[in-house]
């Protein structure tokens, strides 16, 4: 079970959270074509390495935030709030990271 640093409450057990999955790309404008729309809806990068995910501290502050997690080691490298820029990461795992859009 992961230990997740909620940016509002501090370290808590995974059981208190809900995972919203890999961070989606920005919602396309309504006029976007069908291929781009289905790419947004259904395709995720699913990288081996660093992934940007959305989590909600649903049995705590009920706030959503973003988590940078390594899918191989499960190590959590950073958390940040919605709307904040993605943190720049270096270190051994950063080579495996994709920008995630």
């Amino acid at each position: 079970m992961l230990r997740i640093p909620c940016p509002f409450c501090g370290d808590r057990d995974e059981a208190e959270f809900r995972c919203g999955g890999e961070l989606p790309r920005e919602i396309p404008q309504p006029g976007v074509d069908d291929d781009a729309w289905s790419d947004y809806l259904f395709n995720r990068d699913n990288p081996k390495g660093l992934v940007h995910e959305r989590w909600c501290h649903s049995f705590g502050c009920n706030q959503w935030f973003n988590v940078v997690r390594d899918t191989v080691t499960h190590r959590i490298h950073a958390v940040y709030r919605p709307g904040e820029p993605r943190p720049a990461l270096d270190g051994p795992c950063a080579t495996a990271a994709k920008s995630g859009g």
């Binding site: 992961l2 309504p30 959305r54 909600c56 499960h74």
Partner: protein, 958 residues
Amino acid sequence: MRNGSEVGRMSSPQPFRGPDGGRIDRGRTLAFTFDGRRYRGHPGDTLASALLANGVKVLGRSMKLHRPRGVLSAGIEEPNALLCVDWGSGLIPTVRATAMPLLDGLEARSQNCFPSVNFDLGRVLDFTRALWPAGFYYKMFKWPDWRAYEWAVRRAGGLGRLPGGADRTGYRHLNGHCDLLVVGSGPAGLGAALEAARRGEDVLLVEQDMEIGGSLLHDPMEIEGAGSDDWLAAALAELAGMDNVRLMADATVAGAYDHNLLTIHDRSAAWRGDGAVESFWKVRARRIVLATGAFEQPMLFGNNDLPGIMLAGAVHKYATRFAVHCGRRVAGVLNNDSGWRSLLAAHDNGTTVCAIVDTRSDLAPALLDAAEERGIAVHRGATPLTARGSFGVQALRFASATGPVRQVDCDLIGMSGGLNPATQLYSQAGGKLRYDESRHCFVPDRDPEGWEAVGAASGSFTQESGTPVRPCAAAPVRTGGQWLDFQNDVTVADIELAVRENYVSVEHLKRYTTAGMAVDQGKTSNLGALTVLGQLTGRTPGEVGTTTSRPQFTPVTIGAIAGNRRGDFYSPPKRLAAHDWHAAEGAVFDDYGSWKRPACYGPDREAAIAREVLAVRQSVGLFDGSPLGKIEVKGPDAAAFLDRIYVNNVLTLKPGRVRYGLMLNENGIVIDDGVFVRIADDHFLVNTTSGNAERICAWLEEWHQCEFFDMQVVQSNVTSQWAVATLAGPHARGVLQSLPGLIDLSTAGFPHMSFARGRLADGMPYRLQRVSFSGEQSYELSVPSNRAVPIIERLRAAAGPGELLPIGVEALMVLRTEKGFVHVGVDTDGTTNPLDIGFGAVVDRKRRDFIGARSLARPNDRRADRRQLVGFEPLDANASVPAGAHFVAVSNGTRRSEGFVTSACDSPTLGRTIGIGLIERGFGRKGEEVLVYDNGRNTPVRIVDPCFYDPAGERMRA
């Protein structure tokens, strides 16, 4: 439970117990039974050591072939000595006798045998075992099909029988934290605990044995210049005196999970007859020291599963810790120095070893000298062939180094195929192992973050002479069977068969042969199986690799994992505020989502539903709609926010008015429906389907926080704050209007789809919305939850005696089906978009973006042959049609499903069966006759409009 002191010193002799020594309390005697016979042991014994002391050799039968089995080990890795045990807390099946403390009055029984452990009819499977090789059930039970045999195979499978009756043991869940968690309390574990504790770290030491000390309890050594007994006593005294140290004995670290979370199965309070408690801990540790020691591996030779063949380390441990000498003449079958150490120590402590057969030729001189001193014959470079005997060992046959076959008479064989570090937890945590060729075992190689393995668990074994371990597997004998997995009866021949059939990956091998899938999870069999696999396929064990260890490390009671989450605590039901009132009215409760709600009132379900439906159609009914989802949405941007959530136009809704709406997910699928109310310009009340409020509230939060975070709006789920009494029927207004203080309800002042709030004359706050799910004039009156019963009673009094009938969920479902109102999740599924249920015009009118809008523009979402919502009537008015039945099209003799029935009922109002469903191109097929297929029966039906009753809606607007 009998009192042990009564039998006290009268104990009958325990023929295999030495006259002195051992860490047992000889001053007290414990009485117990095995298969009905009475025996005696001492505090400090395990069930296995006490049985061995009494000369009981055959304890059970193997799972598949029913071969007689005795004790193999002296610890948690035991695959053979599995018993049904009752110590006053009910019968517990498949208990490892080697890890079960002896308790006074304990009753043990053998399992997997009939009529008795010494004469088991199931042994016929052994005598015919050529018929049952690995994977036999995949090949043999195919004709006519598997189900013809399943009952017999299922009866034959498994070991113990489940206990009957309620479980009397209590279970609890506990949580903990520590700086350092030490798993195992041998010298390495205690050393690590002492070092960290002296630095002031918060230390938790966990030991699976009932006593702290690990190998020191049976294998004394010199530590820091002192005898280990003294060292152990001093270490325990020091640790006990420190506030930052906790010691747990009789507790097993069962699982290792991400970020250093460990689970501990704590049995320290489990051995009471009454009030037994097992605890299941979740402990988060900064660091973990793994000091779990190593598991000794068996040797391979014919009949190596006979009772009386034990691990050498077990012979040693029984001799020293329990003063039990398991045999009178012991022969050793070894390939490593650790086995030598064990047998020499056993000999020195009174278990007579007569011969040692070692597969290695170049033995250290010290070992040879030691053997000579003790009069032990040594056969170097020999190959063990087979053990002779049927229910016990009589002799060991081996090929000597020079070739001739020789025989040693013996009644016990102590074998050692080398040690394999107990790295199961390390692997669970993500640690990587490496094959160590000179020791023939897998040792920790790459530590998970925060983990460290020490002592034998790290592959550093005490007092090795340097002569490498010689892998033991695959002796040249093909007769007699060489057992790898004792419990599951997996032999070398089974591995050969698997290889012939190309199961050459260790993961496939395990599943095909079931090697390592027994209660012990391969602690004494995995290494042997993969070594043989490697030898048969020309690979080293390192190249073959191991299977992945997963929790639990040792068996954990299901009850301990469940803890208090059983009965109503498993998924606590939600009860209505007026639950008891409904019960007094004769309500039959059913589960609707997590709610317990009245399905109908009265034991005759059909009659009750019909009575309740007609009450609403003809006069008035009272429905408890409290679970209706209620979410308040407030803020300057509330209207704009909801306009993005709903398919419908939210901006044009005026305060005090109500609108029906649909919510979609981004893929354009309907996820919820219900009315929403504009209470004020910046204040909305969102009604969701009952049971869906939490999910929809979370959905709104996610959109608000993650995508529309610049909007000023808050949402709050107030579902359980308000009780809702729904009055429906032509007399609803008359009854409701008599509540003093209510607004004027006349249709001119308060038409259908209106909302009002205020206080009744007595000050009770209320919210009132005129909406209808039944098709009749209908009012939903909300009051604070704690006023549910008073408001129902007042409405009842207002209606007059017997005039206001309570109606249940089932009647409401009939009423709404008669009106063709969809129930999202029943009449829609994960493919239904709003166009499919007749909301195309609403979608097309909305000019602004909303969730799911873009998806509805895809060609697939607008295909003409999509399944669309229709009503249908069977041509035979009384034919019954279940939901789920298919609409079938027949053309050229082939049948194809065009959709399915989603709701159907016997309509008391119309006196006939009606239903609604989704069928391809449904909107254009009104009047068409189609077949509904269900379980071999075809029912002709006519497609009609889904609204069967009052299509103009005059009754609900009246």
